[in-house]
Symmetry: C2
Subunit: 223 residues, 2 copies
């Protein structure tokens, strides 16, 4: 790769990071704590969001921004049905959200009416890792049926995250999944990472995750 | 988007498609039938490949090219352990294979020793759809635990495929999955699509898939 090409790439990343900083400032000024939830398609991002709403609302007022590669509003509709404000960002085929897309979403979002903003990124275990959004915490949801080797095969997204949620643990009896091997891969990339093991079907583990999130929202309010 | 930008994108796609045509010619000259297998991370691409080897080898000689976003050779090692030639293309963080990457792989691959080449694309339900490789058939593996709404949410990859494999059907009793709704989405995008329902754990459905593949390999040899 020529040095010219490298410079261009660096400039694109700089521009994204600048907008991410502005997004963070807007969220901080509104006193809103925010998450960027990333995962493969079907890992349970929307299900975790719906369970989080069930556990924390109305005590904590939650808003959701949905990143989708197609214009269907299946996920946003579910959040609205749960009584929360939701907005869809249709990436028109693009494989990730970036800070500019989020900044446009924030412009029209009723931030003064919420305490917690959850951004659901596009279902993809590769590209979203490369674009900061300006949110306060990166959350990856690992789905048990995806297998225990994912941290080894997709290290970029599993590195530098703030919270890991292992979802669909109700399926553990029916699947060959070596939890020790999986967690060893996670620990290698993120020593001491905050990890929750949950099932959105049975509700197991959701209370612990909600407790962690409640504390972050309170900290943000106290700032 | 300015018309200048559109032109540049079109030229990149043209270049990829040109190399894809060359790849197809090389495969045809070698009498090798080839698949491009695409799916989310953990949908069972490597498991389907290993089951296919078990069902068809040594009658049909199979080679595998593994696309991985990280340099770990977990999947290629499994294929080699099954006694087949395998080569890994490390995309160095990139989210898909393209025709140029495959053409480099083909240069060093022992095509005269095989009848069937299986290319396992990077685990991603978005980006691989945009890059033709030059292979004869596009196969998407849908994993039951990913949920029944995926054709609606990721229409680009579910459109224009040649075969759909529904994997992990052994988990159907434990998961809410509306097969009718899923297949309606598939039918909308690909009327009359060839579809196999399989389990790599129990072996169910593998024989039917292997039969379809055996016929394609024979047709290619007869050309």
């Amino acid at each position: 790769m020529s040095s010219e090409k490298v410079t261009v790439v660096e400039k694109i990343m700089d521009a994204n990071d600048q907008v991410a900083l502005t997004n963070r400032r807007i969220l901080d000024q509104a006193g809103v704590f925010s998450l960027n939830i990333m995962a493969s398609p079907g890992a349970g991002k929307t299900s975790v969001i719906l369970q989080t709403i069930k556990a924390l609302a109305p005590e904590i007022r939650i808003g959701v921004i949905e990143g989708d590669t197609a214009p269907v509003t299946i996920d946003a509709d579910k959040v609205i049905a749960a009584g929360m404000p939701a907005l869809q960002i249709n990436t028109a085929g693009s494989c990730h959200l970036d800070a500019v897309m989020l900044s446009r979403g924030l412009e029209s979002f009723p931030l003064s009416d919420i305490d917690l903003l959850i951004v659901e990124n596009v279902g993809n275990l590769i590209c979203p890792a490369s674009f900061k959004l300006g949110t306060h915490a990166n959350v990856v949801i690992a789905s048990i049926p995806e297998g225990d080797d994912k941290p080894y095969k997709y290290p970029t997204i599993y590195r530098g995250l703030d919270v890991l949620i292992m979802n669909k643990i109700d399926l553990l009896p029916y699947i060959r999944f070596n939890k020790e091997y999986f967690l060893k891969g996670i620990e290698m990339l993120n020593p001491g990472l905050t990890t929750f093991q949950v099932s959105c079907e049975t509700g197991e583990g959701i209370a612990e995750w909600a407790e962690w999130l409640r504390a972050r929202v309170k900290e943000q309010k106290a700032k």
